[in-house]
Amino acid sequence: MIDQYVESASTYAGDIDNVILLILAIVGFWFLLAQAVFFGLIFKFKARPNVKAQYVSGEKPHEKRWVALPHYATLVFDVLIIVMAIKVWHEVKINLPEANSTVRVIAQQWAWTFVHPGPDNKLDTADDITTVDELHVELNKTYHFELTSRDVLHSFSVPVFRLKQDAIPGRIIKGWFKPTQTGQFDIQCTEICGIGHGIMPARIVIETEAAHRLWNQANAPKLADAAPTTPPTSAGGMP
């Protein structure tokens, strides 16, 4: 359902979509049934002259059944939803598969800084590539991200991955993703972070292995003259 509107570009996006679809099917059915009964009763029992309402206490067992049965149905479907939701939750948020590469994501008022490991695929080395508001990743590689903030709370959201995680100053939060489709997509900050919250967009660029290697080579600081803290050539920036 979601992928009709927002592309699905990570290994777990489809699983999250399926949970949403499952819930939609279950609650959609019960919602329509309840509304049908509700409106049916209103029309069936509209006041008519000289017809007195029935006296029903709802305390007798055969009456209580009408509430008890939906009650148990709710319980059963709740359990089903919980199991499926927790399964996906484990996959996305608790499970941390081996990574091919790690990127650092630093949020601040009001920009994203992304530290890529560069050609040597190791962070905190001289060839790290630091960009602003543009994250470059390679197709079909498992990434870890290390998320932090320099000031207030932010939230790192990549809708095409179905990924979202708040960034907290003073803490590094780890997570993972594995892109499955090339293209350029929005990165959002989804936690209000001050007056510039609405102008904190970034883009994620998912590239093939060859394109990513080229990008690495073009943007890696020249080892001779660069300290790791040197600002990057501006690879980022918004249109």
Binding site: L41, F45, V160, R162, K164
Partner: protein, 575 residues
């Protein structure tokens, strides 16, 4: 306290009573009905503030950059202040005062058959604190830096430091207003619970208390039990703001997530604090206008208590992705889905009450039925958000916004309109106009759905919250998305326009409406045995005795289809 004096007023009203002056009667009153009116009218005035803010920021969303008529250009700073104020006002200064304070104050003494609250002066103090809090909140728009713009949840470090929020004074005023308002409702809550426990009419047993009174009591207990941590948190946050302490500052060893726990430990029960009274209102109205006994009274009561208890164990579902230990999400996912059971059961019971009824679609009944229909959608969409796996995508999107408006709008507005149209004859001694009431009903319900269905769709398509201009996000400007935003805004304008119909009907009926009889709806509960409007002391003919439960409609042994709680049985009572 002064209850003894008030009892005198009740019994020989005519001569023991000096005529109070304007100030004493309208501003300094200890009469529960007048305090209820003060809360009601203050709540209605604040609803205009909340309505105006949403008008301004929705116009900005639909037509970004335009100068909004009556407001001007909405800057990013304005936008944040407007959404923050809209949320805070509608929940704390509209839903709470109208549903809990106004209706609780008005209905509790009348429905349990006593002359006033147990602590009338505490009651007056409660309103006065509330009024001050409202003034402080509104005043914060006019201080240097402007009103607080860090969302109604006020997460630090953004809310804790002026250098981050850029609204140092505004943040503190917001926080002080909220804390003061909670103190006001604490006083009210103490009063409600004490009054119902001690002042019920002779013969009124626990299961003879109308559901709406029970609901207000359960809500008051929930409020009192949950608000402590938040008031403590608010003081800590104020220390962080003004004294430079570091409770929520990681650089000083604090933890910003702690605030979220304190806030939501209150914030989630708060949802039920306003939901339960609205549910109670609906119970009163659907029984009266379907001429039916409430289906399974005790089940309603126990599910309400169950909901209340469970509501203390769900708060972290607001924080699944906020950096809490991800394993904790499993626990809160389970409790959150479990709370759907008692709430769903309450809805089933109400639907069951309609069975076999003789349903009259009066204006209050339309509102009560609309509450059930609309709240159902709000309820089921909550499942998507309570299920941790699905929440990763939906968290902080417009799906959340649409979901809680499908719960809060029915609660705060549909519930309040139901209550006002139902109790108006009692409150003011005049009947409201039914035709204009129905015009207002349809003019509110239809656009309401056209506002929030588009927001569900936008949430599904990835619109995230509190963004003042989506043109910065290429993926959120795809075909049709701006049309949905415009549709929601236009529908809002229609909805707001129809509120004029309500206000005109309200005030014209208040002054020129036909005189209301004592019991215009042929209802059973005690307030309808007092004159319309009830005088100081409520029951001039003497405080009532109670002989049966509140919902004995269409009893087979009776010719009339109602059986007031106060009417002695001709044969020995069956109860």
């Amino acid at each position: 306290m002064s209850t003894a004096a008030h009892a005198d007023h009740g019994h020989d009203h005519a001569h023991a009573h000096h005529e109070p002056g304007f100030v004493e009667k309208y501003l300094w009153s200890t009469d529960h009905k007048m305090i209820a009116m003060q809360y009601l009218f203050t709540g209605m005035a604040m609803a205009l503030v909340g309505g105006f803010t949403v008008y301004a920021f929705r116009m900005q969303l639909a037509f970004p950059g335009m100068s909004v008529p009556g407001y001007g250009r909405v800057t990013a700073t304005d936008y944040n202040a407007l959404v923050t104020t809209h949320g805070s006002v509608m929940i704390f200064w509209v839903a709470m005062p109208v549903l809990i304070a106004a209706l609780g104050n008005y209905l509790i003494p009348l429905m349990i058959g006593c002359d006033d609250m147990v602590f009338p002066r505490l009651n007056r103090l409660s309103y006065q604190l509330f009024l001050i809090s409202a003034i402080i909140l509104v005043a914060s728009f006019y201080v240097p830096g402007g009103a607080f713009g860090g969302a109604w949840t006020s997460y630090p470090p953004l809310s804790a430091k002026a250098e981050y929020s850029l609204t140092g004074l505004g943040s503190s005023m917001w926080l002080f207003a909220v804390a003061l308002e909670f103190a006001a409702f604490l006083l009210g809550g103490i009063n409600f619970v004490t009054t119902v426990m001690n002042s019920r009419a002779p013969g009124m047993k626990m299961f003879d208390v109308p559901i709406v009174v029970w609901m207000i009591i359960i809500a008051s207990i929930l409020f009192m039990a949950s608000v402590g941590p938040l008031i403590a948190g608010a003081i800590m946050l104020m220390f962080d703001q003004q004294l430079g302490t570091g409770f929520f500052d990681p650089a000083k060893g604090g933890d910003p997530v702690l605030w979220q726990h304190l806030f939501w430990f209150f914030g989630h029960p708060e949802v039920y604090v306003v939901l339960l009274p609205a549910m109670g209102i609906v119970a009163e109205i659907i029984t009266v206008f379907s001429r039916k006994k409430l289906f399974a009274y005790k089940t309603v009561l126990y599910t309400a208590i169950g909901t209340g208890v469970l509501s203390f164990f769900v708060w972290a579902h607001h924080q699944f992705i906020a950096g809490i230990d991800p394993r904790m999400a499993n626990v809160f996912s389970v409790t959150t889905l479990l709370i759907s059971i008692p709430v769903a059961e309450m809805v089933f019971v109400y639907i069951g009450t309609l069975y076999g009824g003789s349903i009259r679609l009066t204006t209050p009944m339309l509102w009560a039925l609309a509450f059930i229909a609309e709240f159902l959608l709000g309820g089921v969409t909550g499942i998507f958000l309570g299920a941790s796996g699905a929440d990763i995508y939906f968290h902080d999107t417009y799906f959340v916004v649409a979901h809680f408006h499908y719960t809060f709008f029915p609660i705060a507005f549909i519930g309040s309109f139901a209550a006002i149209t139902y109790w108006f004859p009692k409150m003011f001694g005049k009947m409201m106009n039914e035709t204009w009431g129905k015009v207002h009903f349809w003019g509110t319900i239809i656009p309401f759905n056209f506002i929030f269905i588009p927001l569900f769709l936008l949430g599904i398509r990835g619109d995230h919250r509190r963004i003042y201009d989506y043109r910065h996000f290429p993926d959120l400007m795809k075909a049709g998305m701006q049309d949905l935003r415009i549709l929601a805004t236009i529908s809002l304008l229609v909805l707001l326009a129809f509120q004029v119909v309500f206000l005109v009907n309200f005030f014209v009926s208040l002054f020129r409406g036909p005189k209301a009889p004592m019991n215009p709806w042929n209802a059973n509960t005690l307030e309808w045995q007092a004159p319309s409007p009830p005088p100081h002391g409520n029951f001039p003919q003497g405080l009532p005795n109670v002989y049966r439960g509140p919902y004995e409609y269409s009893h087979p042994d009776r010719k009339d289809d109602y059986w007031p709680q106060t009417e002695p049985a001709s044969e020995p009572a069956k109860t």
